[in-house]
Amino acid sequence: MQMNLDFCFMDDARIVAVAGWTTQPRPHLRLHVDDKVLTPIAVTRHVRRDLRSNEPMGLVALFDLSQLSGGSGFEEASIHLADGYDFTEIRHPRLIEDASHLVEVGVDEVFFALLRLIAQRRLVLSDERLGRDICARLRVAPSAARETEKHVLAIDRCQMTASGQGAVIGWFLPANASAEPLCALAIEDETIVPVDLLPGSMARADLSAYAPRYRFSGHDGYCGGWRFPSPPSGAARLLLMVPGEDFLPGVLVPIETVPAADLAQHVTLATLGIDDISDRDRLRRAMLPHMLSMPRPTETEDDKPGDGETLLILDHDLADGDLRDVLRRIGPHLPGRLSLQLLRPRLTGVLQNAINGAAREISAGLDLQEVSLNIARPEVMPDRVVFARSSVLFQFDLKPIFAREPVCARVTLLDPIGTVLATRTAQAERFARDLLPFALSMPAAQFFAQLGQVPECFLTEEARLRLLAEALVLQGAAELSRADIYRYFEGKSGPHCENFVDGRDWHAFDAHSRQLIEEASA
């Protein structure tokens, strides 16, 4: 019997999906595109209750058109689905519209099959409207049970940062073997993203008590990561799709929003638990963007000198009480008032005391504007922004860093071998690779316009600012100077210097993130 074709659409990667049903266990499907004949790259089967049968008659077959040469589109091509000697013409509009139709009117089983293919990254559908429709349909979908006769699924942690990076850690024991893997989607109001899940990747000897009922392997822990393309606006959920579960979407789990450092800590710990070392970077990579684009200069309204107010974005990496000395030593070099954004999670009494003390000694005036690990755009734009760690400000010459002129961006860095290898490219490479201490000073409007182009995918703001400074150096858009000191000590206080379980601090964590992004995009 010929396959009954319900939907046929093409994804972003030119994979054509045909969905329908057939009674044949092994249908002989081909896709004819003009004179080219393609065989499916994947066929999945599922039970459909509307067919009144327990046999998996439902089918989704995928054909890869990306390998076909010529033309960016297939508007002119003649496309037929062949099943044995039967041919069905596929008109072009279906390739564009059928995905939406499937989500809108497809029976649950085919909708869930579509979700599994998206979760497994076999289909890539980035259309925003489609994402919204999928989310809307899932909003009312019931969750599968975590423990049934067929499986037991546990979620130890399911967390996400405010910027949309997330990870799930748990364990899964099926009753029977399955060719289909456990897979997952992260869902927020209008977006779904596949979770890069590593099932069976972590040793969990503690689950041996389940052995009589379920398939216990000793390596039944899983972990997975994702990243929403933009910060979620509301609550998010994770859909864990259990193999063999055709009638329900899967287990729906609320995602807890946690501070980025907490997630990093849990991910670092989970990473150490992944048995196969070659998989360890996958979890981290799944939470990062695919590439880092260098920020570009933008047109800004106001680069003219104003009242000389400086916004200092300070990573205070010294003892809390020493903040007073750092700030008051800046005082004599200020062209106007000093506003402070302190990159700390909270204002302690000692920090407050230090700021009060410094305020008594800075004649130009000092305001504490913000205490947060994230940079906040001020309501009233100051003249300049200076970013540095306290250890840098204490050991670098402050005069050029806080000078009003020249108005351009200025990067001051400590490069011990800068005189030996002084080319701009070599310096920029060392700057990024060796995490050279630096101070960035630039007009505020430019600063915020360009910083906005750097993705929020790092633990520290310094990693973003380092990228910005590096771009400015490479583009010749900043006045670059070397700190004229030979002895320099890094600060060891503050959250950014705290170590994770692998012994790396936040800066090293970010450096590794950047390395992973660059490797992926190379």
Binding site: L318, A319, G321, D322, R324, D325, V350, N353, N356, G357, R360, E361, S391, F394, Q395, R487, F489, E490, G491, K492, S493
Partner: protein, 419 residues
């Protein structure tokens, strides 16, 4: 008319340390000279404050010109008040005194921030600081002795980080803060050459520190001693000090044990008397040390009695295992005309040179040999006594102080409002 405010980290009415005693003697002398002078001391921490102050009391007056502030305790690493409101109070108090001269004896409990702000508020006032020890250089109680026990010859960020277990950057910051603060003083004074050299090696520009030993009023002369008295005294040795590890009392006890262990008992009985420490406190500090028979604990003494007590001995022993600066006990020994046996380092080596015996620091055998080399030797005692020069009197100190600090003597004390 010139008003001098003498500021000390402590008050000798409450604690009797060398620095505050020197500061108070200077105050008393100037007051006796009808100078316009005010003394401001402090309690050294909340415990002392709770003993002497009411719950909300900020200042104790011991006289119209003699004040003791409520100290909250200060981390000597930062040398800053933990609460800026405490700094505000001290700053405003010192500012209100409207001194023309502010002479600080130490800066602990006063605070670097207080001094910076006072300096900024009173740019025309003369600021003087007497360096009483090495706190600015050394974060390990200012003693330049490493926590491992070895003597420290110079500070550095890395060496100090290893010793005190803090990041090197903390020492960069601390040194910067200290040097900046010392740079605010018009005059820096040191009671010893040793201390001056240490500060200059550390970073204070050469020529900034003048050396004036602390003043101590004393008898002009004593009745000559008979041969019999000299012979008796040549067998009598004494220690004056506290049972702190760096004072080296354990070295002396070990030396005494070595002497007693010798086969030949000395013809003249040997007696070593310990003043300032009782047996219980010694045993608490060194529970495993057996006390030889020649050691006698005499307990605490009144500071004003010290010189007279010292006169009863042939030799005073100062076995400190840290550098010391210009210990008051050495001045008191000079005032008593009693020679010393001293560790051969720092301020002890400098201030006992010529009239004292020196032994290798921390070495009980060397100390035992030094003791036995003069034990029962009245001639040696007489020779050393004859070499002693009396300490600087307060009158002479004041004259040297005024010259070094380019001060002019006031004619009459300014009357204090309300006094």
């Amino acid at each position: 008319m010139s008003r001098t405010v003498i500021v000390s980290h402590s008050h000798p009415n409450l604690r009797y340390g060398g620095g505050e005693v020197a500061a108070y003697r200077q105050f008393e002398h100037l007051l006796a000279q009808d100078e316009d002078v005010i003394f401001v001391g402090s309690t050294i921490g909340p415990e002392d404050s709770a003993k002497f102050f009411g719950p909300s009391q900020q200042v104790l007056s011991f006289g119209p010109r003699d004040f003791c502030l409520r100290g909250r305790g200060m981390d000597s690493f930062t040398m800053e008040h933990a609460e800026v409101r405490d700094e505000d109070w001290i700053f405003e108090f010192l500012l209100a005194l409207q001194g023309d001269v502010y002479h600080f004896h130490h800066f602990w409990n006063i605070g670097a921030g207080t001094i910076r702000r006072l300096r900024a508020a009173l740019p025309k006032a003369k600021f003087i600081c007497t360096l009483h020890e090495l706190t600015a250089i050394c974060a390990n109680h200012g003693q330049m002795v490493k926590r491992s026990g070895e003597l420290c010859y110079a500070s550095s960020e890395v060496a100090c980080a290893a010793c005190v277990a803090r990041p090197p950057i903390d020492f960069v910051l601390r040194k910067t803060r200290m040097l900046e603060m010392l740079g605010l003083f018009n005059h820096l004074l040191s009671p010893s050459e040793f201390l001056r050299e240490r500060f200059e090696d550390w970073g204070v520009p050469k020529g900034r520190i003048a050396v004036i030993e602390n003043g101590l009023d004393h008898h002009a002369s004593f009745r000559p001693e008979t041969e019999a008295e000299l012979l008796a005294k040549s067998g009598r040795f004494a220690f004056f000090g506290q049972a702190t590890p760096t004072k080296g009392l354990d070295v002396l006890i070990r030396a005494a044990a070595l002497i007693e262990a010798r086969d030949e008992a000395p013809e003249l009985p040997l007696s070593i008397e310990i003043h300032g420490v009782d047996k219980d406190s010694f045993t608490r500090m060194w529970p495993d040390l057996e006390i030889p028979d020649c050691i006698h604990f005499r307990g605490r003494y009144r500071p004003q009695d010290c010189v007279d007590i010292m006169r009863g001995y042939g030799w005073i022993i100062i076995p400190s295992v840290w550098w010391e600066n210009s210990p008051v006990v050495i001045q008191e020994a000079r005032a008593a005309g009693t020679p010393m046996i001293a560790s051969d380092i720092g301020g002890m080596a400098e201030t006992t040179a010529g009239w004292g015996l020196q032994f290798r620091v921390g070495d009980p055998a060397a100390l035992a040999s030094a003791i036995m080399s003069v034990h029962g030797q009245p001639d040696a005692l007489l020779v050393h006594k004859s070499r002693i020069t009396p300490p600087l009197g307060l009158e002479e100190f004041a004259a040297e102080w005024m010259e070094a600090c380019e001060l002019r003597k006031s004619v009459k004390a300014r009357k204090l409002v309300g006094a």
